[in-house]
Amino acid sequence: MAVNLDLISGVLSFLFTILILSYLIGDNPLFRIAVYVFVGAASGYVASVIFWQVLKPRLFDTLISAVLRGSLVEQVLIFLPLIGAALVILKIFPGMTGFARLSMAFLVGAGAAVTLGGALLGTLLPQVQATINIFDPQAAAARNIGAMEVLGNGMVILVGTVTSLAYFHFGAQPKTDGSVRRFGLIEIIAWIGRIFIGITLGAVFAGVYAAALTALIERFSSLVNFIVLLRTTLGF
């Protein structure tokens, strides 16, 4: 007997969508069942990916290959990540957590260096340069942007960047009345910065809502498609 996988996946999709949407009437056992199944399936999937796509090809297979055919240097080098992983695993034993610090020190040090280097060369310097060059008419013309648009955009971006940065300047001095306030000019610039930050957060919120709305419409589409598929399959 042929198994209709489309129908089975459609049934599961329909069922879980209904179970999750049941949260609209409040927290209930059906919703929790769906969440538990989802968490379990997701955890199992991630564990399987980690084993088959990371541990097996990058550690175990390489290790076996190095032991059987590699030189002494290769064998030593391949044991280093294994030792690092073993030290992290030791964290589960309360008395041996200190050993994990060696691996963690390497991970934190290397990770911070890579992140800092990337942030400096990939964000800070290019973004500062882009803000400085925002009024460059030649660069704008190359991207089909008119002179007035350059001026308008440039002013908004420059004022927005400077005032938003000023908002995060929290240096302040105590006043004679005991209150602590920022320097007057900084306070005014920071107030303008708050408006720009508010607009940015508004744009992000609109994006969050748009993403959620699209997901909702896709679920509606999925439910309708399932009913159509069911009608076609069962012939009613």
Partner: protein, 249 residues
């Protein structure tokens, strides 16, 4: 509001026209596709970094653009994922009828490298092979992931320029926009809006964004009206309470 959106999905009212104004970041991707300075069967890297919960929006945005790329250049895709579910989502995306049809006709080839572990360090190590690709397409719902890809590939792409397109969710697009303004990203396709624009440019294929647009527009408008109405109502109540308090004094 949920009922209104569902009704609009079923009825597909055409009061709300398909989006027309094309923002610069989308126009840049369309221009790149029109000029397309890459050879036939060129190797193209597609990096996946989004959650299954965002698949609906991301797939709607990515499909018309990838469809056009396949039609024009029959590329050899290489898929890589920087989160655990990415490789599965890559297979899900490519199994869509739009791509299955191309694949059956030999329109493109692909290899899925699976999950790339190590976060930013993994991307940094992987970036050494980027000059071998004619273009990089990052499909993500996370501005931090986009930032990691842009930052860690910047040094390599400065030395050997490789077009870098980002297909993002509407949520993360505003955070990626500065990288487009600085010229570090060739263009952005933002969420359903970007997908709907690309579908018009792609002779209406595959039509998903077009069918989502009629419920999407009233959904957004209703939310805006609710917030505006709620805000004005609160303002009126606040003014009334203040007036009552003054009267009491």
């Amino acid at each position: 509001m949920t009922i209104a959106v569902f009704a609009a999905f079923l009825l597909q009212p055409q009061f709300f026209a398909a989006p027309r104004p094309v923002p610069n970041e989308v126009l840049s991707v369309q221009s790149w596709l029109a000029e397309l300075p890459i050879p036939q069967n060129a190797p193209v890297l597609v990096a996946f970094d989004y959650e299954p919960s965002r698949a609906a929006e991301i797939e709607t945005a990515a499909t018309p653009m990838l469809d056009m790329l396949i039609l024009f250049r029959h590329p050899a895709f290489t898929f890589v994922a920087t989160n655990e579910t990415g490789s599965m989502l890559a297979e899900r995306l490519i199994a869509q009828p739009t791509f299955a049809e191309h694949f059956k006709n030999g329109g493109f080839t692909y290899s899925n490298l699976g999950y790339l572990p190590g976060g930013q360090m993994g991307i940094r190590a992987f970036a050494r092979g980027l000059p071998g690709f004619a273009a990089i397409i990052l499909i993500t719902d996370d501005a931090e992931a986009a930032r990691a890809w842009i930052e860690q590939t910047q040094a390599i792409r400065s030395a050997v320029p490789v077009p870098f397109i980002v297909v993002s969710s509407a949520q993360s697009a505003p955070m990626i926009e500065p990288y487009y303004d600085s010229g570090q990203v060739t263009g952005i396709v933002p969420g359903l809006y970007g997908g709907a624009l690309f579908e018009q440019y792609n002779a209406g294929r595959p039509g998903t964004a077009r069918s989502y647009w009629p419920p999407f527009s009233p959904g957004m408008l209703l939310a805006a009206l609710l917030m505006l109405g709620g805000g004005l109502w609160n303002l009126a109540l606040g003014l009334r309470d203040r007036a009552a308090a003054k009267g009491g004094k």
